[in-house]
């Protein structure tokens, strides 16, 4: 196995009675990678993450953390995991320092290493001044930071974050995102979200989950520089439709009105140059020409708003 693969899972499935919450989930997480799980509410994101963190036993499939099977050697595997669930798992009656010291001890850090780990985690999460405060008296945003500090205090190789920025104000969200990006350099991170810009801003790879199934998985770079399937062109002196059809790569034409046309393209074709030349040669009065790239949001809506009963097929 590739030494850089921190987390690997195949065929991960979870059924609750008749209901399949997650079906056939597969993922390889590499070092330095941030993977975003995207999906509408109830898509199965949290269930997936709970299985990856070892809090829920899958019905089928296995999870390997740094090559160690999570079901067979849970202790060894969990040592390399840091997990922030939807609600930060904090004890309101303990102070931040007490709590983080306890977390470090649970993860098997020796007392000398604990102090250093504590300071590092507090610094990373902006909690340096909050060490003596009771967690119960902190605001939601600070509690979320404590939850995050808990997940990284033992420098795990895999960090699993379930909606890490929920309930935070915009400034805190920026900070947490910066923190996640910083962490992503040395660790592998999986985070879930239903906020598209968040995934766009932070992740290297995006997976869209809908009704328990992965319906889309690609790198962020591929998502933003995706192959375009259509070109929008606006002409002040519209030519005959046949003139546009003659241009190589154009498969279909749709008039949008006001001199705007949508040209559907054959696979992989890019007729923009040819269109510009033809427009000049034919004096069509070209004022706009752009590729119609699907944004992540459009893909997301397209993939998750379908009423296709994917789950019933899976069950």
């Amino acid at each position: 196995m590739d030494a850089d693969v921190l987390l690997e899972t195949r065929g991960l499935t979870k059924r609750f009675g008749q209901n399949t919450a997650v079906a056939d989930f597969g993922l390889s997480l590499h070092k330095g990678e941030i993977v975003g799980l995207l999906g509408p509410n109830g898509a199965g994101k949290t269930t997936t993450l709970r299985m990856l963190a070892g809090c829920l036993a899958p019905s089928q499939g296995d999870v390997r953390i740094c090559g160690v099977d999570l079901a067979e050697q849970p202790k060894a595997a969990k040592r390399a995991i840091g997990y922030l669930p939807e609600r930060p798992p904090v004890y309101g009656e303990l102070s931040v320092d007490e709590y983080l010291r306890y977390c470090a001890a649970l993860r098997g850090l020796r007392s000398q290493a604990r102090r250093e780990a504590l300071n590092r985690a507090k610094q990373a999460c902006g909690l340096t001044d909050a060490g003596d405060k009771l967690i119960g008296t902190l605001s939601t945003g600070y509690q979320q930071r404590v939850g995050l500090a808990q997940a990284i205090v033992h420098s795990p190789r895999v960090v699993i974050l379930d909606e890490p920025t929920v309930g935070l104000d915009p400034i805190q969200i920026r900070e947490i995102r910066g923190l996640i990006r910083g962490l992503g350099e040395a660790h592998g991170i999986i985070l879930s979200s239903h906020i598209l810009p968040e995934v766009q801003a932070v992740c290297d790879r995006v997976m869209i989950i809908h009704r328990g199934r992965v319906v889309y998985s690609d790198t962020m770079a591929a998502t933003t520089q995706a192959q375009f399937e259509a070109v929008l062109i606006t002409l002040t002196r519209s030519p005959a439709v046949t003139a546009l059809q003659q241009i190589a790569g154009v498969r279909g034409i749709e008039e949008l009105g006001g001199g705007q046309w949508r040209l559907r393209l054959a696979d992989g074709a890019d007729p923009r140059q040819a269109l510009a030349q033809a427009a000049v040669a034919g004096d069509w009065g070209l004022i706009e020409l752009k590729a119609e790239i699907k944004t992540l949001e459009e893909r997301f809506v397209e993939l998750t708003s379908s009423d296709e009963p994917a789950l019933r097929q899976a069950a």
Partner: protein
């Protein structure tokens, strides 16, 4: 093992920073103090009329006070155990333990040890109360020690049963009520076996009762069978708690 101690430490810390623990200890101390005075008074009156001095003050304290303390603790300990797991599930903080490299056995043992620290503290207060008699009388320390040991074992048994019940539900109040009910059932088993002798295995049912095994200890007899009974009782319920938590993951 160090992780069990870490969990126990955090648990006892959380128990002792909560006002509930101190309220429970205060109420316990007031009620037991009243019983203490009542039993002393009863002893003083009996001593005036009795011709032989076969009953000492330790009998009144060991036999009377500690038996009464059992009943009070039966009511109180479910309040202390109700939070152990159900509150953690309700708030979601149990995830911290489940995602950490600790086994379920370590989690349950750690929590139980943390609770044990509190119980030891409660017994300690009662011990101090009993030892105040040393200022005025020649106390039978062996009797007192046997009675306190019995009381502590009984509390551990209550605690283990309560811990198991708190793994069953997310609502602390339900855990308290159900824990109280379960303890009461084990309490009255002896009465059931005595009044319904026609019942099959009446003897065995009576033997399972928590109260019967305390009788020897309060009389000053430390019998291995009774001590083992309590330890088995504790082990059984802790084991059930581990099974229950394991079931929950799937």
């Amino acid at each position: 093992m160090s992780k069990v101690l870490s969990i126990a430490g955090a648990e006892s810390r959380r128990i002792f920073v909560s006002p509930l623990a101190w309220a429970v200890l205060a109420v316990l101390q007031v009620i037991l103090g009243i019983f203490f005075v009542l039993y002393l008074n009863a002893y003083a009156q009996a001593a005036q009329v009795a011709t032989d001095q076969s009953f000492g003050v330790a009998d009144y304290i060991g036999g009377g006070l500690y038996s009464s303390a059992n009943v009070v603790l039966l009511l109180v300990i479910p309040l202390m155990t109700m939070r152990l797991f159900s509150e953690e599930r309700k708030s979601g903080s149990i995830t911290l333990l489940l995602s950490s490299p600790v086994s379920l056995i370590e989690i349950v043992l750690g929590k139980f040890l943390g609770l044990g620290t509190f119980l030891l503290f409660a017994v300690g207060l009662l011990t101090l109360m009993s030892l105040t008699l040393m200022t005025g009388t020649d106390l039978d320390l062996g009797r007192i020690a046997a009675g306190l040991l019995g009381l502590f074992l009984m509390m551990l048994a209550f605690g283990a049963a309560g811990l198991f019940v708190s793994t069953l539900t997310r609502e602390p109040v339900i855990a308290a009520v159900a824990g109280f009910g379960l303890l009461l059932v084990f309490w009255v088993l002896q009465g059931v076996s005595q009044s319904m002798t026609a019942l099959p295995f009446a003897g065995a049912i009576g033997y399972l009762s928590l109260i019967g095994h305390f009788d020897n200890l309060r009389r000053g007899i430390v019998s291995t069978a009774d001590v083992v009974y309590y330890l088995l009782f504790v082990t059984f319920f802790l084991w059930l708690a581990v099974l229950r938590l394991d079931l929950e993951r799937t």
